[in-house]
Amino acid sequence: MEDRARLPTIGPVIWYREPLAAIAWLETAFGFERRLVVEGDAGQVVHSELTIGDGYVMVVGPPQGKAVSPRAWEGRATQSVHVQLRDGLDVHCARARAAGAVVVREPETQPYGDRVYTCTDLEDHPWSFGQTLAVLTDAEASQATGHKITAGKA
């Protein structure tokens, strides 16, 4: 992703109390790469773009206005980021754990065909990582999960 014109349509903006520490940690733990960091004089990050695969997140902080780190509300979070990996899910989990991620849900193959693990980061933001092992039809996924599945035109 060398060209800003090819940024993905959607990207999460994630608030951290210590954004520079968070950026370094996300590189070590999850394998993100920093493509852009915009810093103020006091260590605040007003904008950043960290890439992984064909996706990206923006780490900013310290929180302003109504924005908060999950640390402020006993781990409550209003969004979580899901990262779909091409391969190497178990190795990714081991790397994250070694860096201090709290693995909540160990890597496990799900009835809908993906292998998934979840964890929280150094400020308690929740993350999930997945890797597709088998591609199921909606009918097969519905039967496997017990949920009604409605597909749109998109």
Partner: protein, 129 residues
């Protein structure tokens, strides 16, 4: 995907090739440990993340459409120093969304001069788009 009670268990929506998943609040220690997923409406409007959406064009019309649907426009469309035209809006539960489209290109040096901020980048030439 809905459960037996007709409640959304999981969903995916797409926009220009990007996707978001819209889900109910939940607390499940076996899935997310001590974390709890909540709506901003549950914690006095606070949010731990925003969503940023980039579109190639049509930002002002998109803003009009969002306003007509009841979105609270917190920042009207404006050309920013970093080479994008943006607006920000809150949805009915207080989630903040940022929308952007390319405007006049700005170089890294231009942006530093305009803001006094330090800009470090792995790009050979920052600021296109």
């Amino acid at each position: 995907m809905t459960d037996a009670a007709g409640q959304v268990a999981y969903s995916e929506m797409s926009f220009l090739g990007g996707s978001v998943s819209i889900n109910p609040e939940f607390a499940a220690p076996d899935l997310i440990g001590a974390a709890r997923m909540v709506s901003p409406a549950a914690i006095e409007g606070r949010g731990t993340q925003f969503v940023s959406v980039h579109m190639p064009d049509g930002l002002d019309a998109h803003c009009d459409r969002a306003r007509a649907a009841g979105a609270r426009i917190t920042q009207a469309p404006n050309d920013e120093f970093y080479g994008e035209r943006t607006y920000r809006a809150m949805d009915p539960e207080g989630h903040v969304w940022n929308f952007a489209q390319p405007a006049a290109a700005a170089s890294a040096a231009d942006m530093e001069a305009a803001t006094g901020l330090k800009l470090s980048t792995s790009l050979k030439e920052a600021g296109h788009g």
